[in-house]
Amino acid sequence: MLPYDPMRAYRHKRDAAHQAFNTKYAMLGFISSGTYGRVYKAKTRDAEERIYAIKKFKPDKEGEVVTYTGISQSAIREIALNREISHENIVALREVVLEDKSIYMVFEYAEHDFLQIIHHFSTTVRAMVPPSLLKSCIHQLLNGLVYLHTCHIQHRDLKPANILINSDGVVKIGDLGLARLTYSPLQPLYSGDKVVVTIWYRAPELLLGARHYTKAIDCWAVGCVMAELISLRPIFKGEEAKLDHKKNVPFQKDQVVKIFEVLGTPSVHEWPGLPQFPEYLNMKALDNYPPKLTEWCTTRFRSKDATDLLRQLFMYNPENRATALEAFNHKWFSEDIKPTRNAFHGLPPNHCPPLRKITQDEASLAHHVPASNNNNPAYNNPNSKPASWKPASGQNFGSAFGVNTAVTMQVPAGNNSGGSRKKPRLE
């Protein structure tokens, strides 16, 4: 006698109709990982061999056995929001495959991201990001953000690593795992997530313990990203104070000081709500800093308009901070050098950032790619050009990476392998 299971017939019907992920996509390599799971590069198993980025949410494990434990809030958010939106400057979701207790989100592939551009210019080119590239990146980023905000979506984790750019130079905002719809929320945003935005990009109202916050937190983050593209290092690079054992959120003193060192200590005059913040007294205990943003800017660039845009995005009072739309329409973008649809337009070849590195991830590739003895030397040559990169049709990729070695693909000479800076991440 079988255990009572009235859904057996249903599951068989569904499973029979399911087209296996494996038959649709071939994994090419591993891109990155996070708390949610891993991101892979994959191609479709059809004549077109289109390239996608696959975000695979890891199934939870109880001991060694993988069981269903409920889909995470972050996956639900990312799926729910991505199914509704469509914009050139937002990474598009092609489909979601639910299979074998795992969730595969199939996103359009973007070859680069802002972090990689910053790294490329700081370590390889050893020069500032050219104004045309900088302006195009920020303009397109703001264009995507205007769309999100018009849809009442707060991103809540904007940072260079989450802002992608494809090989046509089109900026794509990615990772809506922390984003949420703010249209008539059923409960305050704070009660859902105690900590939002990676520390270096976190707005002052969040650092001061705001229970209520607005889309302006994303605009602050855009300011941080812009400053980082200019100076090639994070403008407010504070040390994060960790949650205590009771998971209380501590006062982020170091981060606050880093901000004050550049922008000066905020006054009640410019930010009347200041004394109401839970961390106000902690803030008052700090030294008084004079504002130095103008100095910060003039030592780095000449454009007065760029300085003004940064100033608008770094307004302490969220109500006075530039909105995404105001920033998008800022006069800096109509100055002599205009933003371009292809952000890489007119760049000398050595200024173009390298292709995204992918490595082999044995566990998942072994699962998806059948063993084969085919070998194509091109795959093992890190200096080969993208054109020679394409596998002969019908050939699989798995063996090309070799077994048990993490082969770094497509690293142009002169680029050290990254990882030289510790990237904070929102856990």
Binding site: A9, I71, R83, E84, T150, L181, L186
Partner: protein
């Protein structure tokens, strides 16, 4: 856009016509009549509402659960599934989709205690977390990952919302009280102005919207039309609003507009200087850029739902004037072999019997050889 209904997954993929709806019922119709299925629709919406309240869900999350449930049964049949497990998964998933998550364990414990209790007397319901999580996984797939649902509440508040929503906070059924935001043009594009309803009438409309989830309306019509129909409905149910409308109607029928310059016998000043409440209501609704025949058919469906609901012993709309709407149930058309009130236990039993009859038919088809699904079943049973 996540706040633009016309660009939403809701509008593009999940509004169906009646023909599609009937096709989706084909298999269940071999084991139940249309009326019985409609009764089950009322029943399961009530069950979801009960479970939702136990889980502390707000009204909007409960409404989303019901929409998920109905969308699921656009693709599946009662006789092939366990609707109690499905609806629990709907509540669990909707709680997350509406950003008010409940724990998996809480969901299954509450569901089990509710369903196996005396109200429903269900003999078997899983106690294992993973069973519910598995169902959620399949549910998400059947919902095609479309989790953003639009509800008439938003339209209602935007059309006649006051700054303080009219519904008492402690009334769980009344639920979602989000303050409407007006930083964009209203999507039904009727221009400026709001309907100035009495609080009691808004409240009434809100309750009617709650009740529409007991029918298939959320699959057939866009939410703003349901909201407008609910306002019409509320105006006829709310005594003082109704008398205002009635007097305006009586006035305008006896005094056509061309002659409205003033009648001393009524002691009314000119129309252009004083507009009566009833006139305003009528003008506002008449001025909406919506199809009045559609509104009328939605109202018809709401009435049909109420008369069906009134045959159930559980959770009827006490506030509605039942005497005027309740038609005497004809005993020969009564779905479950009971003449007057249908109990939850009887409906639970009925849906279980549907599944048992289906299972028998699959195992021993009356005419043809066993169906393919049966072979799959046999293979599994042999294996496991």
């Amino acid at each position: 856009m996540a706040t633009d209904y016309w660009a939403s997954s809701h509008h593009r993929r999940w509004i169906v016509d009646r023909h599609t709806l009937n096709n989706a019922r084909a298999e269940d119709l071999e084991y139940a009549t249309h009326e019985q299925l409609a009764l089950l629709g009322v029943f399961f919406a009530t069950v979801i509402s009960k479970l939702g309240k136990r889980l502390g869900l707000r009204q909007r999350a409960i409404a989303t659960s019901v929409v998920f449930f109905r969308r699921f049964y656009l693709k599946n049949s009662y006789c092939d599934t366990d609707p109690f497990l499905v609806l629990t998964a709907c509540c669990y998933l909707a709680s997350k989709a509406e950003e008010t998550p409940v724990h998996l364990k809480t969901a299954i414990v509450e569901a089990r205690s509710l369903f196996t209790g005396e109200d429903y007397n269900l003999k078997q319901f899983p106690s294992d977390n993973s069973k519910l999580a598995e169902m959620e996984f399949y549910l998400l797939d059947d919902l095609e990952c479309d989790l953003t649902v639009y509800h008439p509440y938003r339209t209602l508040l935007a059309m006649c919302g006051k700054d303080n929503p009219p519904v008492p906070e402690d009334d769980a059924e009344a639920g979602e009280l989000g303050k409407p935001q007006h930083d964009g043009p209203r999507y039904w594009g009727t221009g400026i102005g709001k309907l100035d309803l009495e609080e009691g009438a808004i409240q009434m409309a809100w309750f009617v919207v709650n009740d529409t989830y007991r029918s298939d309306l959320c699959l057939l019509y866009p939410p703003h039309l349901i909201a407008v129909a609910s306002i019409f409905f509320a105006l006829t149910l709310h005594p003082s609003s109704r008398s205002a409308v009635d007097s305006s109607l009586a006035f305008s029928s006896s005094h056509p507009p061309s002659n409205a310059g003033g009648r001393a016998s009524h002691g009314q000043p000119k129309r252009s200087t004083v507009v009566r409440t009833g006139d305003e209501l009528i003008l506002f609704l008449a001025g909406l850029n919506v199809s009045m025949p559609l509104i009328a058919s939605i109202i018809q469906e709401i009435i049909a739902m109420y008369s069906l609901w009134n045959r159930m012993s559980e959770g009827r709309a006490d506030w509605a004037p039942q005497s005027s709407m309740q038609r005497k149930g004809k005993s020969n058309s009564s779905p479950i072999k009971q003449d007057d009130l249908v109990t939850p236990v009887a409906l639970t039993q009925f849906v279980l019997e549907m599944r048992e009859r289906k299972e028998r038919d699959v195992a021993h088809p009356p005419s043809a050889k066993p169906t393919a699904i049966n072979k799959v079943l046999e293979r599994t049973q042999a294996a496991g």
